[in-house]
């Protein structure tokens, strides 16, 4: 403000006017876009993404990817990392030098992408995995069907469908539409240290009675049979389900998947739960799992060797890479059975494709998303994945005899081979997002606070509540 006394009043006035004018202008400038955003807050009317015009489809370009277009992929950055997709994107870039591929990581898929789905501009490819993944019952009908990816030739010229394990479409098919391409072949088994078992003359138990006997052996050696962590208590549910399905066959699986009443009370399931309850009661679990972070619990098995066995998917070796004792020789075996004569043979295993990749229908460049998938399913990128992540992909014949030096990878492929046709899978837990509720029940059961009836009722209630909820879209499994 001026201090010139002569013109003080006027000047003040003028300054004020100028100032108010400027402020007014600023206000208008601020208000204009705000007013616009008020109208379109939170729920825009959809269809915002700019569609890239489809290019010509040729043998080399099966999805009609347009030159000079941009492709965006958002990849769950979990146990497998996300750079294997970057590797595949580089391969795709080799085929399409003028296309820009962008691969970005995320650990919270649902939170990060929810506004983009609502806004109608989701990325072209998403790895919808991890604890923060989007439930498939919510988005299945907003996704592209991916059958044409399997019908396309890979970069070696072979039709992709001919290079894959059987029934890999199943886990990504919802109400008859194949919308999620599950990339990683996951084998569910019980894992142990082959070197430790050799030293003590122990063998992997084939039935629950043998497992209980092994628990007594472990106790004599000052060890426990099992260990669990609070976020992973339901790994024991997976093991129980697998064992019950082997004992009772498909009827057990279908009853559970279709949320039927009393599905958890089936004799086969009860047999497994009773065996587990006995193991808990005998104190063959490392105590305090309900208060232990799960990787810390897993380290007590893989590093400290306080427990002999751990049920998990094939990702366990990669996950515990930095916390595994030297010469551990991690090896898997099929889940023990209830009786000597189960409906499915002992060798039967749960195996299924995991890590679902999706291409949203409203994405700007769906052809680009599919092109990355095509690159991932070609030999070079698939080999890169198996070699660096020590896990099989859905592409057959990629893992060599020595499993890139990994005993766990070798045992996964040999279990797959031994099982032959007796491979099964189920997804009701993930599909309906039941895991969070089931964790609470399983933590209580494994802590010894709940008997067989308690856990049966608890799990049945979770299934019943979903079955009774009309707002949840059901999938019929047969």
């Amino acid at each position: 403000m001026s201090t010139n006394k002569f013109t003080e009043g006027r000047l003040a006035q003028a300054a004020l006017d100028r100032r108010t004018f400027v402020r007014g202008a600023v206000a208008t400038a601020l208000l204009a876009p705000l007013g616009g955003s008020l109208a379109s807050c939170a729920v825009p009317s959809g269809g915002g993404g700019e569609e890239t015009a489809a290019g010509e489809m040729t043998a080399d370009n099966p999805f009609g990817l347009v030159e000079d277009s941009d492709v965006e992929a958002v990849i769950f950055n979990g146990g497998y990392g996300f750079d294997y997709v970057e590797f595949a994107a580089e391969q795709a870039n080799g085929q399409f030098p003028d296309v820009t591929f962008e691969v970005s990581p995320s650990t919270q898929i649902a939170q990060e992408l929810q506004p983009r789905f609502v806004g109608g501009n989701p990325p072209d490819l998403v790895d919808n995995s991890g604890a923060g993944s989007i439930g498939f019952n919510t988005i299945a009908d907003q996704l592209e069907e991916l059958d044409d990816v399997f019908e396309a030739p890979n970069y070696e010229g072979t039709t992709i469908a001919d290079t894959l394990y059987p029934s890999v479409k199943d886990p990504g098919t919802y109400n008859g539409r194949f919308v999620a391409l599950n990339y990683v072949m996951t084998v569910y088994a019980v894992w142990y240290s082959a070197s430790l078992f050799d030293q003590n003359g122990w063998t992997a138990p084939a039935t629950w009675q043998e497992a209980i006997d092994l628990g007594a052996e472990a106790e004599r050696a000052g060890k426990k049979l099992f260990v669990w962590g609070k976020e992973a208590a339901t790994y024991y549910q997976t093991m129980a389900l697998d064992s019950a399905i082997k004992e009772g066959g498909d009827e057990v699986r279908l009853a559970l998947e279709n949320l039927e009443p009393n599905a958890w009370s089936h004799d086969a399931m009860q047999g497994v739960l009773e065996a587990l309850h006995e193991i808990v009661q005998k104190g063959y679990f490392v105590p305090g799992g309900a208060g232990t972070q799960f990787t810390a619990a897993q380290a007590r098995w893989s590093n400290d060797q306080d427990a002999l066995l751990y049920p998990s998917g094939g990702w366990i070796e990669n996950e515990m890479k930095d916390a595994t004792a030297n010469d551990f020789q991690m090896t898997g075996f099929p889940t023990p059975t209830v009786s000597d004569s189960p409906t499915l043979p002992y060798e039967a295993i749960r195996a299924g494709a995991g890590e679902p990749f999706i291409v949203p229908s409203e994405a700007a460049n769906p052809a680009g998303g599919k092109e990355i998938l095509r690159a991932m399913l070609s030999a070079e990128a698939a080999t890169n994945f198996s070699e660096t992540r020590l896990a099989p992909t859905i592409v057959r014949g990629i893992v060599p005899e020595d499993g890139f030096g990994s005993t766990a990878l070798v045992s996964q492929t040999s279990m797959l081979d031994a099982a032959g046709e007796n491979i099964f899978n189920y997804q009701f837990v993930d599909y309906y997002g039941m895991n969070a509720d089931q964790l609470v029940v399983w933590n209580a059961f494994l802590s010894g606070d709940m008997d067989v009836k308690g856990i049966t009722d608890g799990l049945q209630k979770i299934s019943d509540d979903i079955a009774a909820d009309d707002s949840v879209e059901k999938i019929e499994v047969s």
Binding site: G24, L31, F117, G288, A290, A436
Partner: protein, 345 residues
């Protein structure tokens, strides 16, 4: 642009918020002009009132209104489509055992966490300001500055870090706590899962929340106590009041406005508690004993894809919070608190 100029107010009466005056001596003519709606005044109102109001409406009121609307729809959260379902979501909440359990836990937190935190914070604040030696001037205990600083430390650590660190401290076999307890001969504590036992999980979680807040509220109360004239404490001491009596009869009544504010802030933080609970027991704890409304909301929205229902939970959470604040004001009023600024002693 106040027309009359205030003399320096000696009686503790605070003048109305002073706005800078353009020019330093407004004449009588200016006084009259003030009443006309000039461009000046209109633009001033536009800038000083309308703009903030607009921003407030856009960023505060409209999300509230939208949330209220979403809570009455079956929105999945991943499309732009939704159907209006009226109050169905709220009716469903009443029959939802898990939500009711979460609401109960949140209520428990709202009662216990602020009470314990404030009692502890007042205790520490008293000791470091007026609880020192009873001879000589009124002062804090020896090393008061040191205690004040270390009590503030936890507040400098982000809540998520606090949650993760304490989850490790509580680890049954490798945790610091059981290590110390078994080390001093309490063998019953071997492998005891503090966060995995339904009897202790809530208590252990509350302890962490309180631990993280005490320092900050200590500093707040220290500042309030410093505003109380030292003569009052000297007079109380001459009358023979001990430390406890002084704290109860002198300190607390004189800083009750601060206590009330602290109670409301703490209550809001405790009703939420999301970060702590998610870090220590992401699944809701044994038998849902540490499951809070905000976790239920998060699970329902993001892993179950039921944003409409989750928003209804959010609306209830907001109402509970408002009710809590209202209850604190009511209790304060009933027990003799006042809103107006009148000298305290």
């Amino acid at each position: 642009m106040s027309g009359t100029s205030h003399p320096a107010a000696p009686g503790g009466v605070v003048p109305p918020v002073a706005t800078p005056r353009p020019g330093n001596a407004p004449g009588p003519g200016r006084r009259r002009r003030r009443r006309r709606i000039s461009f000046d005044r209109a633009s001033f109102f536009a800038v000083a009132l309308l703009l903030p109001l607009t921003v407030y409406v856009i960023f505060v009121i409209s999300p509230f209104a939208q949330a209220l609307y979403f809570s009455m729809t079956d929105w999945s959260g991943f499309t732009a489509d939704m159907a209006f379902v009226g109050l169905d979501n709220f009716a469903r909440l009443l029959g939802d055992d898990k939500f009711m359990r979460a609401a109960l836990n949140s209520a428990l937190l709202a009662v216990i966490v602020p009470t314990v935190t404030i009692v502890l914070a007042i205790g520490v604040a008293t000791m470091v300001t007026v609880g020192g030696s009873t001879t000589g001037g009124v002062r804090g205990v020896r090393g008061a500055g040191f205690y004040r600083v270390i009590s503030f430390f936890p507040y400098c650590v982000p809540a998520i870090v606090i949650g993760l660190v304490w989850a490790q401290v509580y680890d049954p076999s490798r945790g610091l706590l059981n290590g110390v307890l078994t080390g001093i001969g309490l063998d019953g504590m071997t492998d005891f899962p503090w966060l995995g036992d339904s009897r202790t999980a809530m208590g252990a979680s509350m302890f962490v929340i309180i631990w993280s807040f005490v320092g900050f509220y200590t500093v707040l109360f220290v500042a309030a106590i410093k505003g109380v004239p030292g003569e009052i404490y000297e007079a109380a001491r001459l009358d023979g009041a001990g430390r406890f009596r002084t704290a109860i009869s002198i300190t607390v009544p004189l800083i009750r406005d601060n206590v009330r504010t602290a109670w409301i802030y703490l209550g809001i933080a405790a009703i939420d508690s999301f970060v702590y609970m998610q870090a220590m027991n992401p699944g809701g704890g044994p038998g849902y004993s540490t499951f809070v409304i905000s976790q239920d909301l998060y699970q329902t929205a993001f892993s179950k894809g039921q944003f409409g229902y989750a928003t209804a939970m959010g609306v209830v959470l907001a109402l509970v919070t408002l009710l809590f604040a209202g209850a604190v004001f009511l209790v304060d009023r009933i027990t003799g608190g006042r809103d107006d600024v009148r000298g305290h002693a």
